[in-house]
C-alpha cells in the first residue's frame, strides 16, 4: 500500500507529503486548509508522484490563487510541466447533448399535428353521423339540457358581449371619425361603423368571447368527466357520448351564437352612434335616417350567416379537446388552454376564408 497523500500547513507554506499517486490520493484527495493563506506549495518531500498527483498539485495551486509549486526536480518537474501544458491545451469537455436534431423533432411535431387533425376530422365525421341518426328520432335529444346550455352559453353571456361590442363600436367610431373629420366627411361615419360592425366585428367579438367563456368550460366539463371515467360509464350504459354530450352543446351554440351576434351588432352600432353624435356632430336622427340608405340587408346577413359556422367550430373544438383529456387534472388544464387557442385561431381563419369567398361572390 502506498503511503497516503497529505498536506501539512506551516507558516504560509503547504508541504505535500506521502505518495501523490492515484492510490495515494484515493477517493478524497487532501484539500486546502480552510482560511489558510498559502504562499507556496512545497513538494520536495513527496514519496511518489504520478500524473494524477501532478494534476491535483496544479489544481491546489490554482485554488490557492496561483501560488508556485516548489521543490520539484528532474523528472518530477518535467512531469508537472507536461501536465500543465496538456491541461492548458485541453478544451473544457462539451456537455453531452442527448437532444435529437432539428429534423427528427420537426418530423415528430408534424406527425403529431397530422394525427391530431385526423382525429378532429374523424370526430366531426362521427358527430355528423350521430346527428343524422338523431334527426330521425328527435325524442332522444335531451331538450331540457339544450335549453339549459342555451341559457349558460347565450343568455348569461349577454352582458359581457354587449359591453365589449359597445366599446368596440365606440373605439371604431372615434378613431375613424378623427380621419373623416379631416375631410369634413363626418356623415360617412355611418357606413364605417355599420359595415365594420355588422360584417366583421359583431360576429367576431361574439365568437371570441363565447370561445373563451363556453368552449373552455365545455372542455373542462367533458375533460373532468373523462378523468372520472364518467364518459366510459356512459358508454357501458349503452349511450353514445357524442349523442349525449356533444350534440346538445352543438345545437345550443348553433342557436345561441347567431342571437348573440345580433345583440353584438346592435350594441356596436349603438356605441358608434353615440360617438358620431358627441364627437362628430352627426345627430342621432341623421344617423338613423342614413342607416337604411347605405346598409344593405346583405351586410347584416353576411355577418349573422357566419355565426353558425363559428358556433360549430367552438362547440366541436371544445368537446373534442375534452375527449382528448387523459390522465389527471393537469391534462384538463392543458386541453382547456388548447381548446381556447384553437377555437379562436380557427374562427379567425374561417373569417378570413369567408372574406375571400364573399369578395368573389361580390357580396
Amino acid at each position: 500500500m502506498a503511503e497516503a497523500a497529505a498536506l501539512l500547513w506551516r507558516e504560509g507554506r503547504l508541504r505535500a507529503v506521502g505518495a501523490w499517486t492515484v492510490d495515494g490520493l484515493g477517493a478524497q484527495p487532501p484539500g486546502l486548509p480552510p482560511g489558510a493563506a498559502v504562499g507556496a506549495v512545497d513538494a520536495a518531500a513527496l514519496a511518489a508522484l504520478d500524473t494524477a498527483g501532478a494534476l491535483w498539485l496544479l489544481r491546489l495551486s490554482e485554488q490557492a490563487g496561483g501560488v508556485a509549486i516548489e521543490g520539484l526536480a528532474g523528472a518530477r518537474q518535467e512531469l508537472l510541466e507536461r501536465v500543465r501544458e496538456s491541461r492548458a491545451r485541453m478544451a473544457p469537455a462539451r456537455p453531452v447533448r442527448d437532444e435529437e436534431g432539428i429534423l427528427p423533432t420537426t418530423g415528430r411535431q408534424v406527425v403529431a399535428r397530422l394525427e391530431r387533425a385526423h382525429a378532429f376530422l374523424a370526430f366531426i365525421g362521427e358527430t355528423t353521423v350521430v346527428a343524422a341518426r338523431l334527426v330521425r328520432r328527435p325524442g332522444r335529444m335531451p331538450w331540457r339540457e339544450v335549453l339549459g346550455l342555451i341559457h349558460s352559453a347565450g343568455v348569461a353571456a349577454l352582458p359581457i358581449v354587449g359591453l365589449l361590442a359597445f366599446l368596440i363600436g365606440v373605439v371604431i367610431a372615434y378613431q375613424g371619425g378623427q380621419q373623416l373629420k379631416l375631410y369634413g366627411a363626418n356623415i360617412f361615419i355611418v357606413e364605417l361603423v355599420a359595415l365594420t360592425t355588422l360584417r366583421e366585428l359583431g360576429p367576431l367579438i361574439a365568437a371570441i368571447i363565447v370561445a373563451g367563456r363556453t368552449g373552455s368550460a365545455w372542455t373542462a366539463q367533458i375533460g373532468t368527466m373523462q378523468v372520472r371515467e364518467e364518459v366510459d360509464a356512459l358508454r357501458t350504459l349503452g349511450i353514445s357520448p357524442v349523442e349525449r354530450l356533444v350534440l346538445p352543446r352543438l345545437l345550443a351554440l348553433l342557436i345561441a351564437l347567431p342571437l348573440l351576434t345580433v345583440f353584438a351588432d346592435l350594441l356596436g352600432v349603438f356605441g358608434g352612434m353615440l360617438i358620431a353624435w358627441l364627437v362628430l356632430g352627426v345627430s342621432l336622427s341623421d344617423f338613423i335616417a342614413r342607416f337604411p340608405e347605405v346598409v344593405y340587408p346583405s351586410a347584416f346577413l353576411v355577418g349573422v350567416g357566419k355565426a353558425p359556422f363559428f358556433a360549430a367550430i367552438i362547440a366541436l373544438v371544445g368537446c373534442f379537446e375534452g375527449f382528448r383529456v387523459s390522465g389527471g387534472a393537469e391534462s384538463v388544464g392543458r386541453h382547456t388552454t388548447l381548446s381556447v387557442v384553437q377555437a379562436i385561431f380557427l374562427v379567425i381563419v374561417a373569417d378570413a376564408l369567408f372574406s375571400v369567398l364573399f369578395s368573389w361572390l361580390n357580396l
Binding site: 372520472r228 366510459d232 356512459l234 357501458t236 350504459l237 349511450i239
Partner: protein
C-alpha cells in the same frame, strides 16, 4: 360458456401488456382477475368492455363475437355493465336518476319498477332523491353496482371496486355485492389486487403475472395447488424448503419425509423446493424435529411464528395464541401436509 377469451393479447407500441390469455366463465358465475399492480388485469378488463383493442385473439360474450379477428363492437353496443374504480357516478343526478340512466327505451312505468327493485336490492329504499355525495362510500358503491346492473347487461365488469374502502369494510362489502349479483343471476368479472376480496366474491379466480394468466382456478386450488412459484408466493403465506423426491408420493426434507401426491415431471432423486404453508406445521412437543423461533407476530387467536430449522431454512407456523413462546426458544414441530406442492429447485431459493 358465457364469456370466452381465446389467446387474447394487447400491446401498446410493441410492448405486450396482456399476453396470450385464455379463459372461460359460465353463465351466472363470478370470476376474478387477481394480480399485483401492473400485471395487465385492468387492461384485459377494459378490453372486454371494449375500451381497448386486442392485438391478437378474440373475445365472445354470451356467444356473440365482440373483439378480434377483424371484428370490434364498440362499448355502447356490447351490453356490458361496468363498475369503475372511482365509481364514476353522475354527481348532478339523483340516485334514482343515476340508476335509471341506462334505462332508455323502457316506458316510464317499467323504468320506475326496475329502479324501485334495484333500490330495494341495494337496501337504499327511500333515498331515491339523494345525490351521490350525500351517501357513504359503501352506499355509493352499491349505487354504482345497481346502475351498472340496471339495463340487465350480459356481463358485469368490476374494476377494483372496493379499493377505496377501509380494509375491514372491503370484505363485508364484497360479500354484499356478491349476494346482490347472485340474486339477479348476473355473470360478473372482477379485477382486484386483494386476494381476500377475490375469495369473498369469486367462484373462479385467475392470477395474472406480467400480462400472463398464471392460473385460472377456484380459491381453494390456488392456495393448495398453485400452478407455479408466483401463484404459491402471491396467494397466502408460506415458505419454500429444499427437498429431494423419493417417489411419486413423497419427498425427503429436513423435516423428514413428507407424504402427498407429487406433481408429474418430478423424477425420484431430483432436487425440489417444497411449499410449506403456516397451517402445514403443527406444534408438537413430542416431535423429534426442533426449530428455533426467530420472529413472532400476534394475530389475535393465533401467533404466526417464523421458525429457523437445523439447516437455517425458515418456515412459518400458526399456533394458537395461548401457546406463547419467546423468540429464541426451541419448540417441537411436525409436518402435516395434505397437498404436497413442489417446484424444481432454483438456486438461492428460500
Amino acid at each position: 360458456m358465457w364469456l370466452e377469451i381465446d389467446n387474447a393479447s394487447i400491446a401498446y407500441s410493441g410492448n405486450a401488456v396482456v399476453h396470450d390469455v385464455s379463459l372461460v366463465l359460465q353463465q351466472g358465475q363470478i370470476g376474478c382477475l387477481l394480480g399485483p399492480s401492473g400485471c395487465g388485469k385492468t387492461t384485459l378488463l377494459r378490453a372486454i368492455a371494449g375500451f381497448e383493442r386486442l392485438t391478437a385473439g378474440r373475445i365472445a360474450i354470451g356467444g356473440r363475437h365482440v373483439s378480434g379477428e377483424g371484428c370490434f363492437v364498440p362499448p355502447e353496443q356490447r351490453r356490458v355493465g361496468m363498475v369503475f374504480q372511482d365509481l364514476a357516478l353522475f354527481p348532478h343526478l339523483t340516485i334514482a336518476d343515476n340508476i335509471g340512466f341506462g334505462l332508455r327505451g323502457l316506458d316510464a312505468d317499467e323504468r320506475h319498477k326496475r329502479i324501485a327493485r334495484l333500490m330495494a336490492m341495494i337496501g337504499l329504499e327511500g333515498r331515491e332523491a339523494c345525490y351521490p355525495h350525500q351517501l357513504s362510500g359503501g352506499q355509493q358503491q352499491r349505487v354504482a353496482v345497481a346502475r351498472a346492473m340496471a339495463p340487465r347487461p350480459d356481463l358485469l365488469l368490476l374494476d377494483e371496486p372496493f379499493s377505496s374502502m377501509d380494509a375491514d369494510l372491503r370484505e363485508k362489502l364484497a360479500r354484499e355485492v356478491r349476494d346482490i349479483l347472485r340474486e339477479d343471476g348476473v355473470t360478473a368479472l372482477l379485477v382486484t389486487h386483494d386476494q381476500f376480496e377475490a375469495f369473498a366474491m369469486a367462484d373462479e379466480i385467475g392470477v395474472m403475472h406480467h400480462g400472463r394468466l398464471a392460473q385460472w382456478d377456484n380459491g381453494y386450488n390456488l392456495y393448495h395447488e398453485p400452478a407455479d412459484r408466483f401463484v404459491a408466493d402471491f396467494i397466502g403465506q408460506g415458505a419454500m424448503i429444499r427437498g429431494s423426491v423419493v417417489d411419486a408420493h413423497s419427498a425427503d426434507t429436513v423435516l423428514g419425509r413428507i407424504h402427498g401426491d407429487a406433481p408429474a415431471g418430478c423424477q425420484p432423486g431430483c432436487i425440489v423446493d417444497v411449499l410449506v404453508r403456516p397451517d402445514d406445521i403443527v406444534h408438537d412437543d413430542a416431535s423429534s424435529h426442533q426449530a428455533v423461533i426467530l420472529e413472532k407476530a400476534f394475530r389475535g387467536a393465533e401467533y404466526l411464528y417464523t421458525l429457523g430449522l437445523e439447516n437455517h431454512e425458515q418456515v412459518l407456523c400458526m399456533v394458537q395464541s395461548h401457546h406463547d413462546h419467546n423468540v429464541g426458544e426451541r419448540i417441537g414441530i411436525r409436518v402435516e401436509i395434505d397437498h404436497l406442492v413442489m417446484f424444481p429447485a432454483q438456486r438461492e431459493a428460500t
